[in-house]
Symmetry: C2
Subunit: 344 residues, 2 copies
């Protein structure tokens, strides 16, 4: 087998606010054929997720940041093109973290096979993958929903939020979404079965939310931060839980918002209401993966959990697509279709 | 039996900053003798605790506020003077919430008998009472200390903090206290067995704390808020826990501190470090009282848990004594000796 040309997207500089195309460079390199113990993967699907913004920063976080000049990290579903690993054969589909590029050499570390007969392979990056796990463990293990409780979820039409709301409905809760565009609110209510959805674009978010939650809020699944959090906080009931999954409103901040410093207000509310605020990422629950996959694949099969994908074609469109996340322009799980199965 | 003159301290106005004597008025009323189903209690010990500051505010909290003109609330140990309740006889000691006054009529609701042979009766307001329960459940149920972990506790010489640190030592943790005066730091290290203690008066609190916690912080037992919290936060380890017990640095605030608004920084830390922040009060754990009393009374008996009382004599000195809490001037559990057993 000859070498392949591998197009890649590298982090060229660290964005200080919203990332734009000039923060990335395209590069093409030749990949040698796999050596013993290696295989060659061709990227089919690349997942775009808010956490990637954090990896572009030099500061310390739960995972290493991307070095300048390195391929941007990202979850992918790939097809095995050539393999010198016994347990993988050409035509296999694998989920891994091979990044913003068309090909990758791998020794199999960190890869999982994807069974295309169970569900479309792209779901390994969505409802049956990291976003699904995030929703599942965040809501069920941290939120601990009880029938009749009121659950509010922000970024309700997003990859995680949409699943959170549907799981909360399965658990018998009253579910209120918060989203941006009216068509997203329509979608989560009419397609996904949320009880209500509030647009954060409206002028009186706090008032609308209070009206939508006459019994207060027992679980707030936090994806965004900012003004949505401020509107939610006064409505939290005693012993309410806040699974803290994301803060997308702040990822592009270059400085803290103006004062006053509201930390004492937040802490006083946590104390008086005896709230639990807990940050998490899906891999914190790695030991409980089996229960996730069993439950979620059944719910998807039975259409108790629906999902929507927002698909952008072509690796070259990745940087532009990534910006959609921070503008609320994606509608469903954001994916880049980098290649098609079986084609070269 | 004739009527008794009952001296009481009433809330006269709602303080907007540090409470002072003019926020209270003294009043004397005559108490009738107890009717059927009632008993007359004479206050021996009155507990002064930071939570009382919250009851002076009109705003909503976990317990009703004190109305203007009402007797200030407070935990007490009293002696039964006369009883028309079968299960209580004169000479019994009871712990209850009869407030800032010398006598009270009671139907027994909410009272517990105190056994004077187990420990000094004043401990029913301290190590064997609400502060002890607060330390016990906050550290053990929320903090979940594991041997070798680093525990930091603020207000370390206070009624709760002193117990938290000793329990953490029993659980095999490295324990660092934060207190004000040098003699308090000496006390918690030399008398109570903390591993170290940092004064929050020093100019480089963050640096001193970092040096004292080379392996980071696994549990921060929060009693104070403010600059201490700011110094602790960057040192929290992954999966660390913050039992949120009190915020005494803020109770007298009349407005929020100047900006910037640091909530995004706090939330980002909770997310990245996957922290758990949980507010609580001791009564949230009412169903587990038996385990508390068994454990704590044994530890006190075996001198594994020591306690210190800061005693002020005379009901008339209560308002002045209360101010000590907010100035860090109490040294140990703050109590007012309102009366002596058996005397009238």
């Amino acid at each position: 087998m000859a070498t392949v040309k591998n197009r890649r997207i590298l982090l060229a500089r660290r964005p200080t606010a919203e990332p734009n195309e000039s923060d990335f460079t395209f590069s093409e390199v030749e990949l040698e054929e796999p050596q013993a113990g290696q295989m060659l993967l061709r990227t089919l699907w690349l997942s775009l997720d808010p956490y990637m913004r954090g990896r572009m920063k030099a500061e310390k976080s739960y995972a290493p940041h991307v070095e300048l000049g390195d391929v941007m990290v990202g979850g992918t579903v790939s097809e095995v093109v050539a393999s010198k690993i016994e347990s993988f054969v050409p035509g296999d589909f694998v989920e891994g973290r091979t990044g913003w590029q068309e090909y990758a050499l791998s020794d199999g570390t960190g890869l999982s096979k994807v069974d295309p007969t169970l569900a479309p392979i792209s779901t390994a990056l969505g409802v049956l993958g990291m976003p699904g796990r995030t929703a599942y463990f965040g809501l069920l293990s941290i939120g601990q929903p009880k029938p009749g409780e009121t659950v509010v979820v922000s970024a309700a039409a997003g990859a995680v939020g949409a699943i959170v709301g549907q799981l909360a409905k399965i658990k018998g809760c009253q579910v209120i979404g918060i989203a941006g565009a009216p068509e997203k609110c329509d979608y989560v209510v009419n397609e996904l079965g949320f009880d209500n959805c509030i647009s954060h674009y409206q002028s009186n978010l706090a008032g609308a939310l209070e009206k939508a939650c006459p019994k207060g809020i027992d679980i707030y699944f936090e994806n965004v931060g900012g003004k949505v959090f401020e509107a939610v906080l006064p409505l939290m009931n005693d012993f309410a839980r806040i699974p803290l999954c994301g803060l997308i409103a702040h990822y592009n901040d270059s400085r803290l918002p103006d004062g006053p410093n509201q930390i004492p207000l937040l802490m006083r509310t946590i104390l008086r209401r005896r709230l639990t605020v807990r940050g998490f990422i899906s891999s914190d629950f790695a030991e409980q993966q089996a229960s996730f996959f069993n439950d979620m694949s059944r719910w998807v099969r039975e259409q108790q959990v629906k999902y929507r994908e927002d698909i952008v074609d072509g690796l070259e469109n990745t940087p532009g697509a990534f910006q959609k996340l921070f503008r609320g322009e994606n509608f469903g799980k954001l994916l880049v279709r980098v290649g098609s199965p079986g084609s070269r």
